[in-house]
């Protein structure tokens, strides 16, 4: 399992497509910074069958007031959970 990290919003950047293209079937995708916009109900569909392996950084959702708008399918983790994810993943790949 690899952990992919995305910090751009799928609303205005196509970078999320690169992350999706590079992901294997067990890989996880963590949304951070402006990337957490991807967790919104209106945008989460862009991530297709990654749902279930799609996570978002709690602190970045909270700072933006986006927690109430976050789709239920997105797993929320705090920064300690972020570290745990990197422990579990063989390596990380960042997309920005």
């Amino acid at each position: 399992m690899l952990l992919h990290i995305l910090n751009r919003s799928p609303a205005t950047s196509e970078v999320y497509r690169q992350a999706l293209a590079a992901m294997g079937p067990d890989d996880r995708l963590l949304l951070i910074e402006d990337g957490v916009q991807g967790a919104l109900k209106g945008l989460v569909g862009r991530f297709g069958d990654v749902r279930g392996r799609l996570l978002a950084l709690e602190e970045d959702l909270a700072a933006r007031g986006l927690e109430p708008l976050c789709d239920d399918s997105v797993v929320r983790v705090d920064v300690e959970g972020f570290v745990t994810l990197t422990e579990e993943a063989r390596k990380t790949v960042s997309w920005f």
């Binding site: 910090n7 910074e33 300690e80 570290v83 745990t84 422990e87 390596k91 990380t92």
Partner: protein
């Protein structure tokens, strides 16, 4: 585990530095060894010793220095990326005939080889881009 961090975002312009510093603290808090933070691309601006952010905002340059002091983490700045962006320590300033310097310890100017070494030596390298 042994961790490395690669930071390529400038402070204030992007959130990357905030995210990286917070992640670094969490890594150390979990008992891992953070072998180094490597600053590349616009990330070299994190070493700007003259940074004077508003007092009610986090001071990232000081934040990195505190992390280094607390956990003995080397702060390695790519020398090629730094020089073209105006970030020189005393030695490089002298070598380039410039008065004054903009980088000081615990930040150290070093070569890209350190990044390769860090990435392949550590169990995990995590990149924070702008």
């Amino acid at each position: 585990m042994r961790y490395g961090i690669l930071l390529m975002g400038a402070p204030y312009s992007s959130q990357a530095a905030h995210s990286a510093l917070r992640f670094a603290r969490a890594v150390a808090g979990r008992g891992h060894r953070l072998e180094a933070v490597f600053f590349y691309h616009e990330g070299v601006h994190n070493a700007a010793r003259l940074a004077a952010p508003p007092q009610d905002e986090p001071h990232l340059v000081d934040g990195w220095a505190a992390l280094s002091a607390d956990h003995g983490v080397p702060l390695q700045v790519c020398i090629a990326a730094a020089l073209r962006r105006g970030l020189l320590d005393e030695r490089e300033a002298a070598r380039h005939g410039k008065q004054g310097h903009s980088v000081e310890p615990p930040f150290e100017l070093t070569g890209l080889g350190q990044l390769v070494d860090l990435g392949l030596r550590c169990d995990r390298l995590v990149t924070f881009g702008p």
